[in-house]
Amino acid sequence: MNVLDASEISLRDINTTLQNAANTRRNEAYEIVNPRGSHAIAVGLDGPISVTIKGSTGYYCAGMNKDASVTVEGSAGPGVAENMMSGVVTIEGDASQYAGATGHGGLLNIKGNASSRCGISMKGIDIVVHGNIGHMSAFMAQKGNLVVLGDAGDALGDSLYEAQLFVRGSVKSLGADCVEKEVRPEHLELLADLLKQAGADASPQEFRRYGSARELYNFNIDHAGEY
């Protein structure tokens, strides 16, 4: 195990070390100790590398991740795994706002709760939240799957495109153009797979599915009151 101490090494050096190690594609394991809420830590990784961060992180941890596996043994600040392309990012604690924002692929696994705007503008990423999510989550979400084992806050899926939302608990309110949809066998299969990947103890049958009504896809003046 390679250990990088964030109290002794600069952020630049930590990220350079991790990025170079990822580029070698040797699947090495790194541990970062004393992260002390550092911003932009373990960002831009492009290759199979395993990074464990022993503590909480600031903004944009694991931003734009490709192929790497990043685990935060603590909570993550705003924008964790933003614009992630692939790989797995796991948060053992809670995640702040905009978790997985604009993510294109990979799995973001949040063991605690996620704050507001989780999965905003997501473009293909899979997000599993073991706890609850805050308001305006999946706002303008385009592609991918958001699975919530707990409850969802206000305006879930507002102005949603083709992303699929699965919630086990209650939904405080649905956003504009977001509707509940039938759960079909292919959705149960998808859910079972995502829950298994995330190590979540839940049955696919317990979830309800939400998606776009597709009423706002082309501008219509009669819908102006929806906004």
Partner: protein, 441 residues
């Protein structure tokens, strides 16, 4: 028969024919007017400024003989690899999607031939654009359509777009008729639906967050790329100051004449400030923070010729960016397509329904037949010529003011023709040593 003379029919200034036609259009359609381009209203502009030229107290440089440099380096503050341009004129961000692939290629070719940069837009970077652009600025927009770390690293600079002059505070809309399979695929959305571009970024709000966002972008790209921040002409002093505080290498300031692919006419004409009014406050912010020339200022919005370039530089800009003018150079609104313009209910020079994708010039369209009207090689040649002419014009004016580099132009070289322009540019009204707001008067 009544022989009393009649007054000639008088059209109302308030209810002009254009105004009334818009009222009738709104009444019939029930929706606001959407169009492309920038503000069409007359606002104080560079035309309202004049260069004084050399005289006994200033001696000029010999045209065609004595050197007048035009190079500019952008991104000297933090970036390991600043961008070096031969001319102080860049191509502004315009998206593949709003523009055809051929038009984007032509912009890349022309910019490269002239020794300058071009810029992506909402919708990501295409291989053709990257391939034909020696220096390519990659826009980081609220929608993040097509955003990925590989293109980020392939770029020569990154432009974080906070706003644009045509619509400070507004997002965008690419209507479904322009969303072909390729455009949709690049944006991760279904074919044929209207694509909204968000008005603010999804994962940061305010200057403190922006500072961290810039840190992330730098960490992902090894601190190599210059980071530009593009702002619309809303509050240029404070926005420039905050962009500097957030860590920008370059501030791109776009006034209200700057174009857009599509937004509401009411937004274009009624939000934001004229380009002329934005430059001095932005330069003041740079000077107050000791960052003038260390953080470069790129000005856009209604730049049309070398005189505009020279005046913008004299007011303190390091470079300018052109968008609409570059499209005109490629053939936008060319009279040779007049029959087609008439068929669309408009005329050359006035065509602005860029969002509908039926551009006779084949520039603002995804229709393959129309798009094939633009030869990207010839378009690149036209753009290069135009950029060269602008540069020569700018040099001519700079030499006349005795400057061996276009960056040596200064406000003292200018006077204003109108009170408004004098106030905005903070240069004396012609024939006086005074401008409105000048300290001591």
């Amino acid at each position: 028969m009544d022989k009393t003379p009649h007054t000639d029919p008088i059209q109302s200034w308030t209810f002009s024919r254009e105004t009334n036609s818009e009222i009738r259009r709104a009444a019939a359609s029930g929706i606001y007017d959407i169009r492309g381009g920038g503000a069409k209203r007359r606002v104080p502009h560079f035309d309202d400024l004049l260069f004084l030229g050399a005289s006994i107290s200033r001696y000029p440089l010999e045209g065609y003989r004595e050197k007048c440099e035009t190079s500019v380096t952008l991104g000297t503050r933090f970036a390991k690899k600043p961008i070096e341009l031969k001319i102080p004129i860049t191509i502004a961000g315009m998206s593949f999607g709003a523009l055809s692939g051929q038009a984007k290629e032509a912009l890349g070719r022309g910019a490269t031939l002239a020794g300058t940069s071009t810029t992506t837009g909402d919708g990501g970077m295409t291989p053709e654009e990257r391939g034909h652009s020696e220096k390519l600025v990659y826009q980081y927009l609220p929608s993040r359509y097509g955003m990925n770390p590989d293109d980020l690293r392939r770029a020569d600079a990154i432009e974080v777009v906070v706003g644009q002059g045509a619509k400070p505070g507004g997002g965008g809309m690419l209507l479904g008729q322009k969303i072909t399979e390729r455009v949709a695929g690049m944006r991760d959305l279904p074919v044929g639906i209207d694509q909204r571009s968000a008005c603010r970024h999804p994962d940061w709000t305010g200057p403190d967050d922006l500072e961290i966002k810039i840190l992330e972008l730098r960490e992902i790209t090894n601190w190599e790329k210059p980071i530009y921040i593009k702002i619309g002409g809303a509050r240029p002093y404070y926005d420039t100051a905050l962009a500097i505080k957030a860590g920008a290498d370059v501030v791109v300031l776009d006034g209200m004449q700057g174009g857009t692919a599509a937004t509401q006419d009411v937004f274009i004409e009624h939000v934001g400030q004229p380009t002329l009014a934005c430059i001095r406050p932005a330069v003041q912010a740079l000077q107050d923070l000791g960052m003038h020339r260390e953080v470069q200022l790129v000005v856009s919005g209604g730049i049309r010729n070398g005189a505009d370039v020279a005046k913008a530089l004299a007011l303190g800009a390091d470079a300018v960016a052109i968008g609409t003018a570059a499209l005109v150079a490629l053939g936008d609104n060319d009279p040779k397509w007049e029959e087609d313009y008439k068929a669309l209910g408009t005329t050359h020079g006035a065509y602005d329904d860029w969002h509908e994708g039926r551009d006779p010039a084949g520039i603002t369209t995804q229709d393959p037949v129309l798009a094939s009207r633009l030869d990207p090689v010839e378009g690149g040649r036209l753009l290069r010529n135009y950029l060269n002419v602008m540069t020569l014009e700018c040099q001519t004016l700079a030499r006349a003011c005795g400057k061996s580099h276009v960056h040596n132009l200064e406000p003292e070289d200018l006077c204003a023709l109108t009170m408004e322009a004098a106030a905005m540019a903070q240069v004396p009204l012609a024939g006086t040593d005074w401008y409105p707001g000048k300290p001591g008067f």
